[in-house]
């Protein structure tokens, strides 16, 4: 199996602070791959580097063998990479379903003429996009909110909505940044189920997460970061018994 996402010697420095330093790992297609580590370990910075929000100081990121470190987020979306955010990024000036339909942006071919005069080609595409978006909202478990204004939705529902929007772009790999943050036990269990369903569709999932129970249960492999460096990498069983990881987490 070839690696879908490959990170080689990736570093990012903010002034004198090395937020991510010499990180290498690879993610195979179809895996659930989690990045864990104490607060400030550089997990979100790593995600921002992979998804093109930050430009790396040095090192390389490859998606399907193509170097992507210098590409913009929208160019990465074209290549099948999409993500969610720790600080949710929802368009509060739209309804729930419009947020998900925004995820269909790349699959909807439209020009100014069909748009301005609302020609049948446009309405057909819109109808299909709406159906697909409704289906995805049902899939992630917020199907009851279709035409609700996003600003009127609960935190947990918005978290799921953001995942639906990412899936609407039909990504090969989706990066979820702390999807369980702020969720209660019941919601977290539902999220675990959802991540399994997403992986079950053959979509590679990368996860930054603090909830150990969730991470250990669903991940195929894990990467442990500490002070921007790789502390350990391996299967959940290997990580659980790794003395360095235990020391970093328990402060021993």
């Amino acid at each position: 199996m070839t690696a879908l996402v490959e990170v080689r010697n990736l570093s990012k420095a903010f002034g004198g602070v090395h937020a991510v330093e010499d990180v290498s790992f690879s993610v195979d297609a179809g895996q659930v791959y989690s990045v864990i580590g104490p607060n400030g370990a550089g997990k979100t910075t790593l995600f921002n580097l992979i998804t093109g929000l930050y430009t790396p100081t040095s090192g390389e990121v490859k998606l399907n063998g193509e170097s992507i470190a210098k590409l913009q987020p929208n160019q990465l979306a074209e290549r099948g990479m999409c993500r969610t955010f720790q600080q949710m990024q929802i368009c509060m000036n739209m309804t729930a379903i419009e947020n998900v339909m925004l995820g269909r942006h790349l699959t909807l071919k439209s020009n100014l003429l069909t748009t301005l005069f609302r020609l049948p080609a446009l309405t057909r595409g819109e109808k299909a996009a709406r159906e697909k978006a409704a289906e995805l909202m049902e899939f992630v478990g917020c199907g009851e909110y279709l035409d609700t204004e996003a600003s009127a939705m609960s935190y947990g529902a918005l978290k799921r909505l953001e995942i639906a929007r990412a899936l609407a772009a039909e990504p090969k790999v989706v990066l979820l940044d702390e999807p369980a943050a702020g969720l209660n036990a019941v919601e977290t269990a539902a999220l675990e189920e959802l991540i399994r369903k997403i992986a079950g569709q053959g979509i590679t999932v990368m996860l930054v997460e603090h909830d150990m129970k969730l991470v250990m249960g669903i991940s195929d492999r894990l990467l442990v970061l500490n002070y921007g460096r790789v502390l350990a990498e391996g299967t959940p069983e290997q990580i659980r018994t790794n003395p360095d990881v235990i020391a970093a987490y328990l402060g021993g």
């Binding site: 929000l53 929208n74 368009c91 925004l102 819109e126 035409d147 609407a168 772009a169």
Partner: protein
């Protein structure tokens, strides 16, 4: 379940059409028709500006510049070169689109106050050029603009026309024409908003990061909406010139840019019908306050201030919220 956007859209357009076509039953003198015509044209330009400000969340404090460019382009082509009005208007719109694209590409990388300053400068530069190029524009004295003509048929406020067998005055004819222009402007804007392009524009406002990670090229869409709103201003500027019969560089002035932005904010950013109400209020208010003479500007400012303090979301969204709340209350009372 809430109604879908398309329902609101149709309701808004029908409501507007009724208002536009019913108005002539209540007014009759040329002055009122003139005011209504001017308001309709300015409102249509504001609908275009709202695409940029209300929906895409960008700002332009120089939009009168594009209005003025469109007005002068048409005026010069028709008056100095004997062109017909339609080709002058269309070519003027293309010209303004190109200018807006060239200017927009670099300055739309700026955000907030910096973008305000840059657009302000664009407006100033255009106004200065129109003031100084006396040979072509007539300078601060302005220049005459011929009547609006379509294939030899002329629309003039002094003309007499017949519509469906009724005799109508030139003032009324111009008003009806401007009303139809406004309705078309609203229809096009609403079509744009409720489309993949419209969602991309609104996502730039809602969350630029979210937009980019799902594949929206935010720089491209910012430029696009800047160009579209500039074309709106240009076309309305051209028609405004033909209607007035005479234009001065004040059509491109800073004051007018601010007036346009105020109409958007007062009426309700991101509400197409709301910004039209904003335009109507700000066009009519000075007329209503004229009786107070020197107190006029003081009262005008006071009304604006109070509205913005107590209705920060704008007239229509605030009214809609109040209505929704009242409805929810009465529904709760029944249960």
């Amino acid at each position: 379940m809430m109604a879908r956007f398309s329902d609101f859209r149709l309701k808004g357009l029908v409501f507007l059409a009724i208002v536009v076509f019913a108005l002539p039953m209540f007014i009759s003198n040329p002055f009122h028709y003139g005011l209504a015509t001017q308001t309709a044209l300015v409102a249509a330009a504001v609908v275009g500006l709202n695409l940029l400000v209300g929906f895409a969340g960008q700002i332009s404090l120089g939009h009168a510049g594009f209005f003025g460019l469109g007005a002068y382009f048409s005026a010069i082509m028709t008056s100095n070169y004997g062109w017909s009005a339609i080709p002058a208007l269309v070519l003027g719109a293309v010209f303004v689109a190109i200018i807006a694209w060239i200017v927009g590409r670099p300055i739309l990388r700026l955000k907030g106050h910096y973008l305000s300053m840059a657009t302000l400068a664009v407006g100033f530069i255009i106004a200065i050029i129109l003031n100084n190029e006396r040979e072509i524009t007539g300078g601060p004295d302005g220049m005459p603009v011929p009547s609006f003509d379509v294939f030899g048929w002329e629309l003039s406020v002094f003309g007499q026309y017949s519509l469906f067998g009724m005799d109508i005055s030139g003032d009324l004819a111009w008003y009806l024409f401007a009303g139809v222009v406004l309705l078309v402007a609203v229809w096009l804007a609403q079509n744009l908003i409720d489309s993949p392009i419209g969602r991309a524009l609104r996502s730039v406002h809602g969350s630029e990061v979210a937009a980019s990670v799902v594949g929206v090229n935010t720089a491209k869409y910012k430029s696009l909406v800047f160009v579209i709103s500039a074309v709106y201003a240009s076309v309305m500027g051209a028609l405004y010139g033909h209607f007035q019969g005479f234009i001065t560089p004040s059509v491109a002035s800073f004051d007018f840019s601010i007036l346009l932005i105020t109409m958007v904010v007062l009426g309700g950013m991101g509400s197409t019908i709301g910004v039209i109400i904003g335009a109507v209020v700000l066009e009519l208010l000075p007329q209503l306050l004229a009786d107070f003479q020197e107190m006029e500007m003081v009262l005008f400012g006071l009304i604006l201030m109070l509205t913005m303090i107590f209705m920060p979301k704008g007239l229509l969204p605030t009214a809609a919220n109040l209505l929704a709340k009242r409805r929810a209350k009465s529904a709760g009372g029944d249960a």
